[in-house]
Amino acid sequence: MSEREIDVAIIGGGPAGMAAAVAAREANGRVVVIDEGLAPGGQIWRDKLGVAARGQAAQWKSRLLASGAELFASTSVVDVRRRENGFSVIAERSGEPLTFQARAIVLATGARERFLPFPGWTLPNVVGVGGAQALLKSGLNVQGKRIVIAGAGPLLLPVAASLSSAGADLVLVAEQTPWSSLAAYSLSLWRTPMMIAQAVRLRASFARTRYASGTWVTRANGDGSVRSVTVTNGRKTREIQCDLLCVAFGLVGNTELARLLGCQTRSGAVIVDDEQATSIWGVFCAGEPTGIGGVDLSLVEGTIAGAVAMGRGVSPALRRRRERMRSYAARLESAFALRPEVSALATPDTIVCRCEDVRMADLERSWSSRQAKLYTRAGMGACQGRICGAALECLMGWRPDSVRPPIQPARLSTMLDAGRASQSPSGAT
């Protein structure tokens, strides 16, 4: 076991975490960045195999490397405990325990996709939208594969463009949002012309693919893997052959660690003040867990959080930038709101909790996530209710259950080690 005394432990190495690290280092703090992924960048700036990073991603990665922050990749945080003078961060890397003693924590844990159950969604080759992007960047060969992209949100376009560039036969992009909402959203982008240009460029890159709004997938068909999908726009239904279905419905902040620490949340987002401070002294939060808002907002929030965690102030310019980014985020959320049909796709036989094979029919009796857990085992699997919890919140309105350590499955020896740390003089329990 190794212990490190540091000023700021930044949990998450995506844009928010990287910005926080750079800012905290500018104030000469002893800083670590703990990230589950193979390399920093989070999801949006994930390294593409064999391709050098470019643009903003490249800039921030060099800044991070130059900053002097110590980076721990492929490292999962298992628990964070409050101590007299700060926090103990219990983590695991390659099955080995790592412990950090930090005065302050910046939670930059990013977001995951929201999956809603529908018949056939558990078939192999049904993946997320961001998930498809992640797999593509980590080496997935999509050359010649017939792909349908579906769901909701601004991720559909850039992922479609990526897959198309990688040689996929992109058959359909089905956005569930009705045209009227999309049009209104596009009009609102006049304030951010850069984004309009981006969207136009993206669309042009797969110009031959049908982009259908107000359209959603009702089932995936196949045996052993997906062979076709059934799509509808509420009036007409058709079946489309495909090899890969990429489907997800927006993003959900990874707020588990914040909730474990007792931070207040509202509507699934961690509440932070003007300085990115949560309701728990010494815990800051930046980026998607405070509300889905995209890269640029994450960078600003991360910068603020890292500076304040080291006791530095925040410039008015930075605050104004955050406000601008937040208003863009708000427009995004309302534009891509989920239509009721996509929350009603599951039949009684459809699996809702994938880890434990709990079907929709099994959940009829239960009326809270805790009851569902006890009676059906939904949420008791390895993903600790992350996938089904987000779905059930949409489908049933159930608030997620309380969070306990370990917040990721951990090797028993790591938990043992963490227990010993609690007994040593430096660690108050």
């Binding site: 993946v127 980590s138 994938r354 992350r386």
Partner: protein
């Protein structure tokens, strides 16, 4: 251009690009059965980012490793649900 390495999947040799993940190596090699669910339904990666735990396979004897979070390594031994 990334180099090619070899790993063993369910007893057969599979080629993958160095730096790629076990998940993509398996999918590229048409090994689509990563994990068996409690009712023996065959599963493969969903989220691609370490959240869903559907991509769990046994790597070098250690069970329940997330394939999407693990880089391939020459000589790595992977066993999936197909073989269990």
């Amino acid at each position: 251009m990334s180099a090619s390495i070899e790993l063993v999947v369910n007893g057969r040799t599979v080629t993958a690009l160095e730096g790629s993940t076990v998940a993509t190596a398996l999918i590229n090699a048409s090994e689509l059965g990563f994990r068996a669910s409690p009712q023996d339904d065959v599963r493969a990666p969903l989220c691609g980012m370490g959240i869903c735990y559907e991509c769990r396979v046994t790597i070098d004897g250690l069970a329940h490793q997330r394939a999407c979070m693990t880089r391939v390594r020459a000589g790595m031994n992977v066993v999936t649900a197909v073989l269990k």
